[in-house]
């Protein structure tokens, strides 16, 4: 019973994240459009886009190799597995022990590795510009993310995400400087990782400002659909991660009743809507930076992460 329940939660979560990911993207686009007094496309437009792309033929560049065709599936798979392991509405995930938070972030790193390689594959200058800028951004964002993980892991005494969420729900957390620093750093990393304004602009097709879009420039048809879905999933993953760690209320604990799980799902959708709305407001209110300002932005996140960890190291004798 317990096993089947955990399996059901795991399966439900995998289906839920996949189903909700385009919706979140559509919701953010709609919210951004409304904020600048446009009507904007319908919230379900990303689903229509995916369906349209799937029905279209693929146009492969003459110089592309097998890696170009295989990479979308690997990128999607790594992102989906990572998203499946972040507790969204319940902590009792069947396989949460198979990868901790460090491994989840490394899975996203693997997805990016293949995306950057795919950008290099066709051998165009735009692919190269996208890949080289992406790895530059990642080379600061990833350590910043690891510092956030260190902060959380040192407080909770674990790198397991379900344990961290459980610790955050418990009463002995209190307000901590490190938590605030970690939250700000995590949000900054999430913005950079998802190619949002001010680091990158998901809506741009101005060649010289593209990072993410430049890497996927040569993709079309079903391959592009899979990659678009993977980027929506990644955005959802970061929203879930922030929700799970910093706003864990509503998460159904392991072995809870089905009502608790329904509450969990409702709370999760609410959290996603809030995160999407905040992101839309933030993106509308701010301008994109020059590419070489992004390292300064991310270094600030990195420094905040290190500062948070240092505070933990000097303020405590040790872990329980």
């Amino acid at each position: 019973m317990e096993l089947s329940g955990a399996l059901a939660i795991q399966g439900g979560q995998m289906a839920l994240v996949l189903a909700l990911a385009p919706l979140l993207t559509g919701f953010i686009r709609k919210a951004k459009a409304r904020l600048v007094r446009r009507h904007g496309p319908a919230v379900i437009q990303p689903y229509r886009d995916l369906w349209r792309l799937m029905r279209k033929e693929v146009v492969l560049a003459e110089s592309s190799s097998w890696l170009f065709r295989g990479a979308p599936y690997l990128i999607f798979a790594a992102t989906w597995v990572a998203a499946a392991l972040v507790p969204t509405f319940a902590t009792g995930l069947m396989f949460s022990w198979s990868a901790d938070l460090i491994a989840i972030i490394a899975l996203l790193g693997a997805a990016r590795f293949f995306l950057a390689l795919a950008g290099m594959d066709v051998g165009t200058s735009f692919g190269g510009i996208g890949s080289s800028r992406e790895v530059m951004i990642a080379s600061i964002a990833e350590p910043a993310m690891l510092m956030v993980i260190f902060s959380l892991a040192l407080m909770a005494g674990s790198t397991q995400l379900s344990t961290i969420a459980g610790y955050m729900l418990s009463s002995n957390v209190g307000l901590r400087v490190t938590l605030a620093l970690a939250l700000v750093a995590l949000i900054m990393v999430a913005i950079a990782e998802n190619a949002r304004i001010p680091v990158d602009n998901p809506a741009t097709h101005l060649e010289l400002t593209m990072v993410h879009e430049a890497m996927v420039l040569e993709y079309s048809g079903r391959h592009l659909a899979v990659i678009e879905l993977a980027s929506s999933l990644k955005l959802l993953l970061y929203a879930s991660l922030i929700g799970c760690v910093f706003v864990p209320w509503g998460l159904a604990p392991a072995g809870a009743s089905w009502q608790a799980h329904l509450v969990g799902i409702a709370a999760y959708v609410g959290k996603l809507a809030l995160a999407g709305a905040l992101l839309a407001v933030f993106e509308t209110a701010i301008a994109k930076m020059r590419v070489f300002r992004a390292p300064a932005f991310l270094s600030a996140a990195f420094m905040m992460g290190i500062l948070g960890v240092l505070l933990l190291f000097v303020s405590r004798g040790g872990l329980q």
Binding site: S65, M120, G123, F150, T163
Partner: protein, 669 residues
């Protein structure tokens, strides 16, 4: 006959191949005999080292070699067995690779005699149990590898590379000589067992630590002693580069671990600070330097420097935990370091084999002259890709597991009580994270520029797949990388007696965990399952492909690249290794390498070409070695006058020296 006997006989057999190689070096059969023989001998040594590691026992042997009243002592304990596995595995696969690769050697007589001697010397270093035999084997290792670096002495730069290597190797051996002298004490107790029985005092031990860092660190490639490594490793033939980078640096790690954990007695806490800081600087400097390279083999060599830094971070953490009497945490950190040693020997050998294959197929090492090799050499490209994923520490391959274990060890360190460590460890952790992320960037560049894109030269366009031996060796290593990544529990269990012998703690047994998960400390704390992660990725990718196959259009058409509507016919418009690194050079290089970019634009109407110049400085070479070399040259010039004195003046000098020494002696007493 025990495992130690087998390993010693294997080393002797390898040495016996040397005269054979001298005799038949010119004949085409020489390659088959020498590499085939090395393969068979290393295979036997590997089996016996694995068996010894599994048994976790120790054996001793004294051979009547060297000074008659001392003899040569050898000893095989779990630490030596673990490194003997690395040496013989690397040796066996390199020999196998060389069966095919060696065909293209222009002067085989310059490679074949040194090769088995190099292999024998490395295994003898690991087995030696007294300072004499250790140093003799160490010097043999240095000299035979120097001979291999000089094998292509006519190529530009190789003579300089081997000169720098020789100077640094002499310096390292000299440091180790002094180190053993200090450890042995005035009584001259040079056997390791005697040193272990009488550990030195704290001051002597600290000095021995410093000398061990200088001696073993210069061979391993610790910054700032690494300068010879990126020169010498690429200069050798590729299978030897793989051995030098993948195995010889590990022998140096062995020397460090043997001296510091085994012989120098209980550590003081500040040793850990020194090792950690050096390791962190090495990791970040190594990977940044690697990013600046456009020579594929040199990039790989610089990357070895980074990995040695990661290993030393693990060793430093183990020292700290040992000083704090936390055996479990020390075992975790030490296991992480040794696991990374094993992993690095796998994927660095694989990548050097791949670069050798590229060199064979195209005659090029410069990535800016390559590109698009994935079409001509799909198998090499696949194996190289596995190596790149593994070295970039991405799940589910093996590089990730050892870095993950290192991170877990770092997360235990707030319990350390010393303030300097409390401040140093988080920064070291941040630098480790930085180097891991930069490593991924570095290998996107290495793979993307070399194998992907369009061919930049006719040679790259004409590249064809290499021979079966080379491919089989590469795929064997790629398979081992996958196995060690998805089944890390077995490697951790195999390393458990090593950690127990050195730091007195053991990690929990991993093979008994459900689903072959690895749990370094406790289940609530952290766990990772590479097998499941791989299965999940495969299942999700398969599911996605099935769904696409069922619901999406299956049509595909080939067309010219889109490139925002402005495709360019020339492959020279692609990103090169240099341009790919430009953003990172701008972000990090401006501080570390004083990197400058200069753009000269001709005024409108002027038809002269625009010029772009990027300059990168090596702070360590220019700040440390160039002044040192200048000082030596100056001193030599000044002292040159001493060659032209009269006999009276020489006698006077001798007399003055004698008086001076007597004075020193009188003051000393």
């Amino acid at each position: 006959m025990n495992a130690l006997d087998v390993l010693l006989i294997a080393a002797a057999a390898l040495l016996a191949l040397v005269p054979l190689a001298l005799a038949m070096g010119q004949s085409p059969a020489g390659r088959w005999v020498i590499y085939g023989g090395s393969l068979a001998i290393c295979g036997g040594a590997l089996a016996s080292a694995l068996w010894a590691l599994r048994r976790a026992a120790s054996w001793d042997a004294v051979l009547p070699l060297g000074l008659p009243w001392i003899g040569a002592r050898f000893h095989l304990d779990p630490l030596a067995s673990a490194f003997a596995v690395v040496v013989s595995l690397g040796g066996a696969l390199s020999s196998f690779y060389a069966l095919g690769y060696g065909r293209h050697e222009e002067e085989p007589a310059r490679v074949l005699p040194f090769y088995p001697a190099f292999l024998a010397a490395m295994s003898l270093v690991v087995l030696a149990a007294d300072a004499f035999s250790f140093l003799v084997a160490w010097e043999l290792m240095s000299l035979s590898s120097w001979g291999l670096v000089m094998a292509r002495h006519r190529e530009a730069g190789n003579a300089r590379a081997s000169f720098v290597y020789l100077v640094m190797a002499s310096f390292g051996a000299f440091s180790l000589l002094l180190c053993f002298g200090l450890l042995a004490g005035p009584g001259g107790a040079y056997a390791f067992a005697q040193i272990r029985a009488h550990p030195p005092g704290p001051a002597t031990a600290a000095l021995a630590l410093a000398l061990a860092i200088l001696g073993a660190g210069s061979k391993a490639g610790l910054v700032p002693l690494h300068v010879w490594l990126p020169l010498a490793h690429p200069a050798a033939p590729s299978h030897v580069s793989a051995l030098m980078s993948g195995v010889m640096t590990k022998v140096a790690v062995y020397a460090f671990a043997r001296i510091v954990f085994d012989l120098a007695g209980p550590p003081a806490w500040w040793w850990a600070v020194a090792v950690l800081v050096l390791g962190a600087i090495t990791a970040v400097m190594g990977v940044l330097q690697a990013l600046m390279q456009h020579d594929l083999k040199r990039l790989l060599a610089y990357h070895t420097v980074e990995n040695i830094g990661i290993v030393f971070i693990g060793l430093g953490l183990a020292l700290a935990f040992r000083a704090a009497a936390m055996p479990l945490a020390a075992a975790l950190a030490l296991t992480a370091a040794l696991f990374h040693v094993f992993n690095h020997s796998l994927f660095k050998s694989l990548l050097f084999f791949g670069s050798g294959a590229v060199l064979t197929a195209t005659g090029e090492r410069d990535m800016d002259h390559l590109g698009g090799l994935i079409r001509g050499m799909p198998k090499t490209a696949l194996a190289f890709l596995v190596g790149c994923i593994a070295i970039s520490a991405l799940p589910p391959l093996n590089g990730f597991v050892s870095e993950w274990l290192t991170f877990q060890a770092i997360l235990l360190s707030p319990q350390l009580g010393w303030w300097a460590l409390k401040l140093a460890v988080p920064v070291v952790g941040a630098m480790l994270a930085l180097s891991a992320a930069l490593a991924a960037a570095c290998f996107v560049k290495a793979y993307g520029v070399t194998f992907l894109g369009r061919p930049r030269t006719p040679a790259a366009e004409a590249a064809r797949e290499v021979d079966g031996f080379s491919l089989a060796a590469m795929f064997a290593l790629a398979g081992l990388c996958v196995c060690a990544g998805v089944l890390p529990g077995f490697v951790i269990d195999a390393l458990s007696p090593v950690a127990h012998g050195l730091v007195g703690g053991r990690m929990p047994e991993q093979a008994s965990q459900a689903w072959l998960t690895i749990v370094p400390i406790g289940e609530a704390r952290s766990s990772y399952n590479g097998l499941l992660v791989l299965a999940f990725i495969a299942a999700s990718a398969g599911l996605c492909a099935l769904a696409i196959h069922a619901f999406a259009s299956r049509q595909a058409r080939r067309a010219p690249a889109w490139d925002c509507g402005t495709p360019s016919a020339s492959p020279m418009t692609q990103y090169t290794a240099t341009s790919f690194a430009q953003p990172i050079r701008r972000v990090f290089g401006a501080y570390v390498f004083a990197a400058r970019e200069q753009v000269e634009m001709p005024p409108p109407g002027d038809l002269s070409p625009a010029r772009f110049e990027a300059t990168v400085h090596d702070p360590i070479w220019e700040g440390l070695y160039a002044p040192l070399a200048a000082a030596v040259a100056l001193a030599a010039q000044r002292l040159n006058r001493l060659q032209f004195l009269t006999i009276r003046a020489y006698l006077g000098l001798v007399f003055l020296a004698l008086v001076g020494l007597l004075l020193v002696l009188a003051l000393w007493n």
